[in-house]
Amino acid sequence: MAVASARKLKLQWKSIWEAIAGASWPWRITLVYLALMLFLPMLAMFLKATSGSPVQFWKIATSSVAMSAYDVTFVTALITALINGVFGTIIAWVLVRYEFPMKRIIDAAIDIPFAIPTAVAGLTIATVYSENGWIGSLLAPFGIKVAFTRLGVAVAMLFISLPFVVRTLQPVLREIEPELEEAALCLGATKSQTFIRVILPPLLPAIITGIALGFSRAVGEYGSVVIVASNIPFKDLSAPVLVFQRLEQYDAYGATVIGTVLLLVSLVILVGINLIQAWERRYAEK
């Protein structure tokens, strides 16, 4: 009996081994690299996160410093993602529909936030929006301080999440047939009705995807935010900066707890984006 089950086990192992050995080299490299680079580090974090009791985890995850950091990170990221949702839609519309001088250069420049390192973005935003900077000096007489406040965090987030809505929307906008709009206009719809009822619905999945991608990026942003903000708790300390500070204070568990919250939020957004895209595909097929 024991011999039989042992043999069975051996066979099972053999078949798993054969499946791996039978896979082609690209597959093997892909899986091994993903395992080493992605799963192993995630496993390490999972083990650390579960090393304390759930009560302890909850206490740190909902401590007042952490709560205010979530407030700074998530609320600011949401507001900036929505602002970029509106402006991104207008930018994509203008770039696809209108002709004007320097259009190509402006179109290419949308990708600046992808091409410029975040540390440089933080440095230049902190300078431009400081009290004696180009834009900051214009705002200072009104008592508006941007650099080293939460507003500065918002500007940094606006910068880094700008391209997402524009870039997800442009290809969809290009594919829309102008006949639909013309038909709506011919049938007596006003321009605003045409926009809201005819043009906007098919664009919505792309806009929402872009907003979600921008939000996700803004939530995780460290480089530009840490330079623009003063990083004072309860004022403009964001969650990723808090993770970094905890680690610097040799509080690895505290860093892990807040890092896990951030990770879970990004995973939820990722699943959400996938669902939206599935919905978009269904929309496209109809």
Binding site: S24, P26, I29, T30, L34, M37, L38, L40, P41, L43, A44, M45, L47, F87, I90, I91, V94, Y98, F100, I106, A108, A109, I110, D111, I112, F114, A115, I116, P117, T118, A119, V120, A121, L123, A126, T127, V128, G133, W134, I135, L158, F159, L162, P171, K191, G220, Y222, G223, I227, P240, V241, V243, L247, A252, G259, L262, L263, I269, L270, N274
Partner: protein
């Protein structure tokens, strides 16, 4: 089109876009170059006399030189594996490859500290073998490879899917070996997509801040890359030095954008992305 011209909607929207982009994008971008060169070229070139600055440039280049080829090999393998096989859960695998884009760089760095650091689960092994990964170059390379992992695969998959397997199958029927098919058929077909991915990988490798900041310990003259140098100089109120370093990275960004634009004109990748 004609109608919107009459109502002036077009002009208002274009003006709005340019004003918004100026505030958020253009003025900050121009400011990098202005601040770096406002006292002429002397402060910029003076920076090159500092050993820690030169070391930061060197380290940034070394990391990119290692990370770009490694992630290129992985990206090509993953793209081929995904694009050439009808496997269940394909979207799921692509999502997994995309994970590093949605994980905060700081969290990515934290994961590596928890894995390879002194307190990490491989900590005893590191100590036993006398290997140093965290607060040293290997950790910075791994962190950079982590955050740039998806770029090549993401740029190559759509191109591979578009070309289809027919040419490769024809080559195989004619008796070509696997590596011959890769060099002579597949690679020429995907070259622009691959190059696009390599450019993005390179830009992010040289510019990565968060993940590298966590694992490097930012030891001046040892584990300080160019982006870390920018932050350090700024914190030390050496704004001029910070901008001299930033303008180098800014130039990298401009070159990246120009190359990207050229490649996008050559391919239709922009519509695929």
């Amino acid at each position: 089109m004609q109608r919107s011209k009459k109502t002036g909607v077009q002009e208002i929207l274009i003006g709005l876009v340019i004003a918004y982009l100026a505030l958020i994008l253009f003025i900050p971008a121009i400011n990098v170059f202005y601040q770096a060169f406002k006292y002429g070229l002397a402060p910029f070139f003076g920076n090159f006399a500092k050993p820690e600055f030169l070391h930061a440039i060197q380290l940034t280049l070394i990391i990119a030189l290692i990370v770009v080829p490694v992630n290129a090999v992985f990206g090509l393998c993953a793209a081929w594996a995904i694009a050439r096989h009808k496997i269940p859960g394909r979207a799921f695998i692509i999502s997994i490859i995309d994970l590093p884009f949605s994980i905060s760089p700081v969290v990515a760095g934290l994961m590596l500290v928890l894995l390879y650091g002194r307190i990490g689960i491989l900590g005893p092994l590191m100590e036993f073998t006398n290997m140093k990964i965290i607060f040293a170059l290997p950790g910075m390379i791994i962190a950079t490879a982590f955050v740039t992992l998806p770029f090549v695969a993401r740029s190559v998959i759509p191109v591979l899917e578009e070309t289809g397997p027919e040419q490769e199958e024809a080559a195989k029927t004619l008796g070509a070996k696997d590596w011959q098919i890769f060099w002579r058929v597949t690679l020429p077909n995907i070259r622009w997509g691959l190059l696009y991915g390599l450019i993005l990988t390179n830009a992010r490798s040289m510019g990565e801040f968060g993940a590298v900041a966590v694992v490097s310990g930012n030891i001046i003259g040892k584990t300080q890359t160019l982006p870390l140098y920018v932050e350090e100089a700024y914190k030390q109120y050496q704004t001029q030095a910070a901008f001299s370093a930033a303008v180098l990275l800014g130039c990298l960004g401009v070159i990246t954008l120009i190359l990207k634009e050229i490649l996008e004109r050559k391919t239709t990748i922009k519509d695929e992305a």
